[in-house]
């Protein structure tokens, strides 16, 4: 395992191998299987100016370290990255394109990525994007890299937009008899002006509503959210609720964790099948996290995902294909990958969709 500690060592490591598989904190084992390049030593904050709302850190920086530094200045990562307690790093989070339930209010990790320094498959060190909160110059590489699974380059350094931390947070839980009833309440909240920070719905039809904001305003907003929930809402331990959500504490042992994004109706059609043992909808039903038994594998899930034209990413819990269901790649991505990694040094787990039309007719 190569463990570069600076940019040149990282470049050398990429150039010295025919196949490069990167890992950070190892918190998403299905994505870092067979890793031979660890960024764990390539860590630390490079630049942080709280008044600019921007922070630049090396890819191997653990999220917990980053969050601690931000919290000291009253700021936070609004996309609420998951798996921090399992040791997830900033680079791994960006490469996997992972956001937590808090992304509902302000946006996903991609929305907060301003700049990226990466090493291409042929060893070029490239900086894309910028270090200011607004930039429309040139191609927006940071946006592309979020979710690209490192297939376009090894992420080295990332600049993020950050926000002031809300003064206070609180969470309501309401349980419904059916998914339809829970989903109706979820939509009432999503369309309301109460502005929930998180809106999750679990397998047992429990809806979780997090509110975040000014101290003086929160009680009134909680009261309004209760009204919208309809019945039986109770305030629960906010910190425990969302830590369990971020760390997937609900995931049964011996289960694979699969992330799927899409419209709620199509996601709902997936979760009822027998091989999804538990699930949790996040972002008001735009994302479903699925737990599938390791023993059953993902073959039949993949089939159903394809039928619904949905793409899944398998993160945890034993050996499985990384990408399942509908191809997550597209012809544009395929061309970009050939440009940035011409020798296919990096993994090519992302399956590119079939040509929709012949290039010339």
């Amino acid at each position: 395992m190569d463990t570069p500690a600076d940019l040149n060592e990282l470049r050398e490591a990429v150039l010295s191998r025919d196949a490069v598989r990167t890992t950070g904190g190892g918190s998403k084992p299905n994505l870092s299987r067979g890793a031979n390049l660890s960024l764990a030593a390539f860590r630390g904050v490079v630049e942080y100016d709280p008044c600019e709302y921007t922070i630049t850190a090396r890819a191997g920086t653990p999220l917990t370290e980053l969050q601690g530094i931000l919290a000291d200045k009253g700021q936070y990562l609004p996309f609420d990255p998951p798996l921090a307690e399992r040791g997830a790093t900033l680079g791994g989070t960006v490469a996997a394109g992972l956001s937590g339930s808090g992304a509902f209010r302000h946006g996903v990790v991609r929305d907060f990525l301003l700049g990226v320094r990466f090493v291409t498959g042929d060893g070029q060190i490239v900086f894309g994007g910028g270090k200011v909160v607004k930039n429309a110059a040139g191609f927006d590489f940071p946006k592309l890299m979020a979710g690209a699974l490192g297939e376009l380059g090894v992420l080295a350094e990332l600049t993020l937009k950050v926000f002031p931390r809300p003064e206070r947070v609180a969470t309501l839980e309401a349980r419904y008899d059916s998914r339809a009833a829970a989903a109706a309440a979820m939509r009432r909240l999503a369309l309301s002006q109460v502005e929930p920070a998180c809106l999750d719905l679990d397998s047992e039809h429990r809806l979780y509503v997090r509110l975040a904001g000014a101290h003086a305003a929160l009680d009134a907003r909680i009261a309004r959210a209760r009204t919208l929930l309809g019945h039986d809402a109770r305030e629960i331990d906010d910190e425990a609720c969302w830590r369990d959500s971020r760390e997937f504490a609900w995931l049964p042992p011996d289960a694979l964790l699969v992330k799927v994004g899409g419209s709620f109706d199509r996601l709902a059609a997936i979760v009822d099948a027998a091989d999804v043992v538990r699930h949790r909808f996040a972002l008001a039903g735009h994302v479903a996290w699925l737990a599938c038994p390791v023993a059953a594998g993902v073959a039949s899930l993949a089939e159903r995902l394809r039928a619904q034209r949905l793409a899944g990413l398998v993160l945890l819990g034993g050996e499985a294909p990384v990408c399942v269901g509908r191809s997550v790649g597209d012809p544009l991505f395929a061309r970009l990958r050939d440009a940035l990694d011409p020798q296919a040094v990096f993994a090519r787990s992302i399956v590119v969709q079939e040509l929709a039309h012949a290039a010339s007719d």
Partner: protein, 462 residues
């Protein structure tokens, strides 16, 4: 001139009223919002369906003719100026909302839909589309996507790229690509967001899935008058330090205030050296709780005066003034050019002082109106093109301002894009490998550089 077979093939797809080849008809398409640049296209087509766009792109590809997609032509960077003797694909007739799912807060639109049209469509459900470029009543979503349009509310809500959930596009060789998941998050790379801001170099968006937000329940809009730009700028820093996440923070200088007041009578303080516009937005109780915090910061900042918009009408008036600033300042001068460079917010004061110095050195007035919350400057350089060398000097001054933005660690453009106008400066912001990789990517997507050739990057082909 393009071969007759090229025009014949177009004529087989487009009926005569939607295929323009006469010099007079073409002249309306020679420029965009930046009229100092112009070029003569070979033809203009006005497709009404995605199939017709595809056909036009494929005909161009077959004949090796460069093409440019155009919406309302409001680009301020020369981005929507035609390629000389290329094809202009005018998309204004593709203005349908294809799929509207309020329960999921998603709208799928065609590229010719106007920015404001999206919010109007969603208003009945209490939803709106957040990116708000000043040209919102006339600019199209397709153009917003191509140039990653911004607006006054980007600090909190982000730019166009942050509100695009998926794109169906035709690549420059006629291949169709489905980019993004169409939902708030999904598995896979950010191809859709990467397409946003690519200035038409990756092809044409045919369908765009947009994220909608609930309309803020309450706004609180304050207009402060200051005796110096420095004082207004320092106040921005104090507001940010206070931990308030404002919807918008804008500053206008004396020249802009006076021009705006003459044009729209919005009640701007004409005796002030700087006007600061701050807006809170959100749930009613939340805004209510933030008001005293903001008031405390503003009162400590020793303004000449503070005015709070009493109602929606007064708020609208204040914003009308801000959004009319370019055209209002334009009335003061025979000609003007506007830049949109970005500097780190904490270096705004330094940037403005240097712009003042450059303005004096060049002997050209510069009006400043900008998105202070995200350090996005908008210096308007006033000049007279009839004077010999007037335009050249104005462009030279503009270039010095762009270099200043790069030097201070910012960007040459925050929301207008590189286009043709700022193309010479992109290699100063992105050096060596950083720029090479952009060319490499461009050629991988479009080896013959047919799509909007000459914008953003210097073409290799010509």
């Amino acid at each position: 001139m393009q071969p007759a077979s090229f025009l014949r093939e177009l004529a087989a797809v487009f009926p005569a009223p939607r295929l323009l080849t006469a010099a007079g008809a073409l002249s309306a398409y020679k420029s965009d919002g930046l009229t100092v640049f112009h070029a003569q296209p070979a033809a203009v087509v006005l497709p009404e369906t995605a199939g017709e766009v595809l056909a036009a792109v494929r005909i161009c590809h077959r004949h090796g003719v460069p093409f440019m997609a155009r919406g309302s032509g409001t680009s301020l960077s020369g981005g929507a100026m035609p390629v000389e003797q290329g094809l202009v694909i005018g998309l204004n007739r593709m203005n349908r909302v294809l799929d509207y799912r309020p329960a999921e807060r998603v709208a799928v639109v065609e590229p010719g839909v106007l920015n404001h049209q999206v919010s109007r469509h969603a208003a009945a459900d209490g939803l709106y589309y957040a990116p708000d470029p000043s040209s919102g009543p006339v600019c199209t979503i397709g153009g917003n996507v191509a140039f990653n349009a911004g607006g006054a509310h980007c600090l909190k809500h982000g730019m166009t790229a942050n509100h695009v959930l998926g794109i169906k596009a035709v690549l420059p060789d006629g291949e169709i690509a489905d980019l993004g998941s169409g939902s708030l998050d999904g598995a896979g790379p950010g191809s859709a967001s990467f397409f946003v801001g690519s200035e038409g170099l990756f092809g044409i968006a045919l369908e765009i899935a947009l994220r909608l937000l609930p309309l803020p329940e309450r706004y609180h809009t304050v207009l402060g008058a200051y005796s110096s730009m420095q004082a207004a700028g320092d106040t921005v820093t104090r507001i940010v330090e206070s931990g308030l996440l404002c919807g918008a923070i804008e500053i206008m200088d004396r020249l802009s205030i006076q021009a705006v007041e003459l044009a729209v009578h919005a009640g701007y303080p004409t005796d002030a050296a700087a006007a600061l516009l701050v807006e809170l937005e959100g749930p009613a109780e939340e805004v209510e709780a933030e008001i005293p915090k903001l008031a405390a910061v503003l009162e400590r900042s020793r303004p000449n005066s503070l005015r709070v918009a009493a109602d929606a009408a007064e708020r609208a008036k204040i914003w009308k003034g801000r959004k009319a600033a370019f055209s209002a300042v334009g009335r003061l001068s025979a000609d003007f050019i506007v830049q949109d460079g970005v500097v780190p917010r904490t270096r705004l004061g330094e940037a403005l002082a240097e712009i003042d110095r450059l303005s004096a050195e060049f002997g050209m007035p510069v009006a400043n109106v900008f998105h202070a919350g995200d350090g996005n400057l908008h210096p308007l350089i006033l000049f007279d093109a009839r004077k010999r060398g007037g335009l050249e000097r104005a462009e030279k001054l503009a270039g010095e301002i762009l270099r200043l933005c790069i030097r201070l660690g910012g960007s040459i453009t925050g929301e207008h894009g590189v286009g043709l106008e700022k193309r010479p400066y992109l290699p100063e912001q992105y050096l060596g490998a950083d720029l090479d990789v952009m060319h490499r990517v461009r050629r991988a997507v479009d080896p013959r550089e047919l799509a909007n050739r000459g914008k953003m990057l210097v073409p290799a082909a010509v």
